[in-house]
Each structure stands twice: as C-alpha cells, then as structure tokens.
Symmetry: C2
DNA sequence: GGATTATGAAACGGTCCCGTTGCGTATCGG
DNA sequence: CCGATACGCAACGGGACCGTTTCATAATCC
C-alpha cells in the first residue's frame, strides 16, 4: 500500500511516469498551430499529435477536451516584457504603444490576438485566460505610469486610468486593423499619445510645448 | 441566335430563369449562420443549403467558393443608421458611442464583428468589404461631427480626425471586450468622450465647465 | 409541343477528424 | 524479474462535408 513520496510530498503512482517532454511538445505544437492562423474550432487533436510527434492517446490521456488543452497552452505564453520606464510619462506611453506595434508585426501575435478577440466569445475560460495573461499585466504597467504622471502633475489628477488605457490600446488595435494608411507608420504611437494627452477640446490660448 | 432583350437591355438567356427567391434565402441563411457564431471556416455549404431549403447545386451554380458567397452576403448588410446629429459635439459623440454600445448588445452584431476582426486576416476581400461597409461610413459621420466642432472652435483646430475616431471607437470596443466591470454600464460613452475631450495632460488652472 | 435551363433531392467516392481500442515496447517501483 | 503504467503506432466504426453527378420536375422562350 505504501507508495514512495517525492521530495514535494506528492504520492508517486506505480508504473512508468508521464513524459514531461511529451507534455511540452504537445503544448508547443498547439501554440504553433494557433500561431499559424488555425482557429480553435479548426484545431484538431490529430494535427496536434502529428505536429508534436506524439500519439493521440497521449493527448487524450492528459486533456479531456480541446478547450482545456488550449487554455493550458496559452497559460505558458509569457507576457512580453512591457515597458522600460524611466522618462517622461509621454515617453513611457509611446514606448508602450511601440511594443504593441512591434508585436503586431509578427503574424503569430496577430493570430493569437484574433483568437483572443473571437474565440473568447464561445469559450469564456479562454477569455478569462487572456484577460489575466495579456490584458491585466499591461493594465497594471500602464496604470503605474499614469499614476506616476498624476502625482508629478504631468497628468490630470482626476484621470480615469482604465478609460485612458482603453483609449490608448483600443486606438492602436483599431488603427493597425482598419487604417487605410500603412499600418507600419513609424509615428503612429506618438500621434496617438499626443492626441490623447492634448485632448480634443480647444483650450483658450495656451502655448503648446 | 437572337435573344430577347429585357427592359434593361440585358440579354435574356433561354430556359428557366434563376430564382431570385433562392438567391435571397441563400444569402439570408448565410447571414443567419454567421450571426449565430459560426465562423467563416466552419461555415459549410451543406448547412447553408439545408437552412435555406435549397439544393447544394443551386449554391454551387452561383458561387464558385465560400468566400465569394460570404462577401456577397455581407454586402447586403445595411450599415445601421449612425447618428442623429444636432446638439453639441460632445452630445453627438456620446450618441455615436451609444449606438455602438447598443449594437454590441446584440449577439448577432458581436458575431459579425468577430468575423470582421478575425477572418479578415485570412480573407483580404472580407476585410475590404468590412472596411467600406462598416468602418468608412462611421468614419465619415464622426469626421463630419469633429470637423464641425473644429470650425465652431469647440475642438482644437489641429485635431487629427482619424486619430480621434480610432481613440473613440477603439476604446469602446476594448472596454466592451475586456472591461471587468459590467460592459452594459450606461455611462460608458460619456466617460470615454469626456476623457478624450479633456485629454490626459493637466492644464494650468483652468476651470472645467 | 419542343428546346433549354434551373431546381430540389439523393447518391456518389473521397477526405478529414472524431474518440476508442489493441499492440508491442519502454520505463518506472519493488 | 514482476507488476504497473505510459509510450507511439495503427486500426477501428462513425460522422460531417466536400464537390460532382444523376434524375424527375418546373419554368421560360420559340
């Protein structure tokens, strides 16, 4: 009845242990396929198994359905380092948008973003994963920058941080998706930030820096 | 060799004419399925035929591939009446975002938006259709409002109209997609507009209205 | 009526994928 | 070595669609 205890104290079941290498290649194959534009609904277990060099059995033994597998796979994506912050608030925000813009250049990133936008509708757990994986870290970083600006007086003290994040991120995504102009415009981040900083309303005769 | 000329001058081919009713039900069935969350890649000709009460032959006779059919189907979507404009620029912009917010409540609209965002990556002709169908009309309407504000002095004279549209629309989409808070917040449009109008930057002691 | 074309239904062979099972082999604990 | 479990592989029966073809019927022109 006695089973060997691992260092972590988990009960070690008898027999051949599961291959961590198989785990990794399954996850990696899943991410590869998603990154090539395969949507969750088109993603087939067989294609994953084939890509990973693994039997279907090995996959079914670990995940009972596709959504679970995709959720786990996405969990391994590391949020890209978001921001070297240090300059003025404007500079930091520009840098932030530049990172997004650069990410958007990669086909893989665009595919993942598409999954986040679309498949989340039918898979709430995916949506939650994306929120905590991609949205929340960025929100936190930008919020820190904005709050710093609010303290130094560079920004309005009553700024709505969530609203500001939505304006900036939303604008970047919208433009890269729908702008007629070449989306690779180098000055897009600056233009977005400056419009957002200045605001649309006219101001009675204040010299702009 | 002679063929009868219709009133429009088009050559009338011999034999039974194609059923316009079939045309319509095919298009309608396609939009129904897309509106239920079926993505373009999952959309099957057989399901369309079945839904439309039509033989597959009838579909294949008119469209040689799925993308063509979807493009034609989307072309029949009328852009929702965008804006009763009349009040202040702020009021008109709030109304504009309210329309978007209201549309987003409908599951069908969200599905169509998802297709616009995701499937456009793989189907450039779809992207183009969406641009001229949904994006451009809105851009035009909002641009008109903004320009009016620039003329009356309510808005900055050097406002970047495209950037402003991106900020507003992008923020709305971003928030309805990723906001933790209840997306049906009634005051979302006002909050977006006001942040955008005021701008993030602090202003040296100017009383806010 | 006769020629011509369209229509819905059904069936075709073919492909892809499903989720499961059996097989021979590999890797663990005891 | 032995029992237990995991492995990759191949095969299973079953389902969904593909794009095409055949067929009896319907609509239009002459």
């Amino acid at each position: 009845m006695k089973t060997q205890q691992t260092a972590e104290g988990a009960a070690r079941p008898a027999g051949r242990p599961r291959s961590e290498k198989a785990d990794r290649s399954i996850i990696e194959a899943t991410l590869e396929l998603l990154g090539e534009g395969i949507g969750v609904s088109e993603l087939s277990i067989e294609s994953i198994a084939s890509r990973a060099g693994v039997g279907k059995t090995t996959i079914y033994r670990r995940w009972s359905n596709k959504e679970d597998l995709v959720v786990d796979a996405l969990a391994t994506l590391k949020p890209p380092i978001p921001l070297p912050q240090g300059g003025t608030v404007r500079d930091d925000l520009v840098t932030y948008l530049r990172v997004i813009q650069e990410e958007t250049r990669h086909h893989r990133t665009r595919c993942i973003m598409n999954i986040a936008m679309s498949d989340s509708e039918r898979h709430p757990r995916l949506a939650e994963r994306f929120r905590q994986l991609a949205v929340e870290p960025r929100r936190a970083v930008v919020a820190a920058v904005l709050r710093r600006g609010m303290e130094t007086g560079e920004l309005r003290a009553d700024l709505d941080v969530d609203m500001a994040l939505a304006l900036l991120s939303g604008a970047m995504i919208w433009l890269t998706k729908w702008s007629h102009a070449d989306a690779s415009q180098a000055d897009l981040p600056e233009r977005i930030i400056d419009e957002a900083l200045k605001g649309f309303r006219s101001r009675p005769s204040i010299a702009e820096p």
